[in-house]
């Protein structure tokens, strides 16, 4: 069966520090991968998605970037965090075929101080 791992679960970082969040998927190949951000009490905002290695689409201009160095690995990064980067970051995957659901990791709670 397929599983998705996302870490760390919580992170507290000072303003101006770098960020690296990692997500890996097991049990499937060539998945579509996604990064979402959820502000407190709000809906999910699509940040990045990838349909293959090295293929990244950005939805929202921001202080973040994403990379997909391997088929089942998706990394969210920032060179310098802002206070507004605080939130709940969720990684997800889908099989990439039409009419398939998203499968989410457990999320990373990021607090920028």
């Amino acid at each position: 069966s397929q599983t998705i791992h996302q870490w760390p679960a919580t992170l507290v970082q000072p303003v101006g520090s770098p960020l690296s969040l990692e997500c890996t998927v097991e049990g499937t190949s060539n998945p579509n991968l996604y990064w979402y951000r959820q502000a407190a009490g709000r809906g999910l905002q699509l940040l990045f998605y990838s349909v293959g290695i090295g293929q990244i689409s950005s939805e929202v201009p921001q202080n973040l970037s994403a990379s997909r160095p391997q088929d089942r690995q998706f990394i969210l990064s920032s060179k310098k965090l802002l206070l507004s980067d605080s939130g709940f970051y969720l990684c997800a995957w889908s099989p990439g075929q039409g009419n398939s659901p998203l499968h989410f990791g457990n999320g990373t709670r990021l607090t920028v101080t």
């Binding site: 979402y36 999910l44 905002q45 009419n99 998203l102 457990n106 999320g107």
Partner: protein
């Protein structure tokens, strides 16, 4: 923004009652999906309805879709305390590979 909206934002009912939440979206879609999120956790997929379908059932869940009004509803029958969670709709446009979520409905089921 392609984000949809859920209505109501919050809903509180007694155990055993039915809960209905609505979703409106903006673009033409390939499908619409409903997800559940327990506090501080990732989302769990509940049900998917394709754009050419009008109604779908799964256990105690009933979903309707009206593409002419760009709206959907989720009905949870005979609610239980364990149904307490936030519920989100998500749309996949015809362009595919993207999923846009609504703002969510926070459901509280009182035992």
């Amino acid at each position: 923004s392609q984000q949809g909206e859920e209505d109501p934002q919050a809903l509180s009912i007694q155990e055993g009652e039915n809960a209905t939440m609505n979703c409106s979206y903006k673009t033409s879609i390939n499908n619409l999906q409903w997800y559940r999120q327990n506090s501080g956790r990732g989302l769990v997929h509940l049900i998917l309805i394709r754009s050419n379908e009008r109604e779908k059932h799964s256990g105690r869940l009933r979903v309707t879709l009206d593409t002419s009004k760009k709206s959907s509803s989720l009905l949870i029958t005979a609610s239980r305390a364990a149904d307490t969670a936030s519920y989100f709709c998500a749309t996949e446009p015809y362009t595919r590979n993207q999923f846009y979520f609504g703002t969510g409905t926070s459901l509280t089921v009182i035992p």
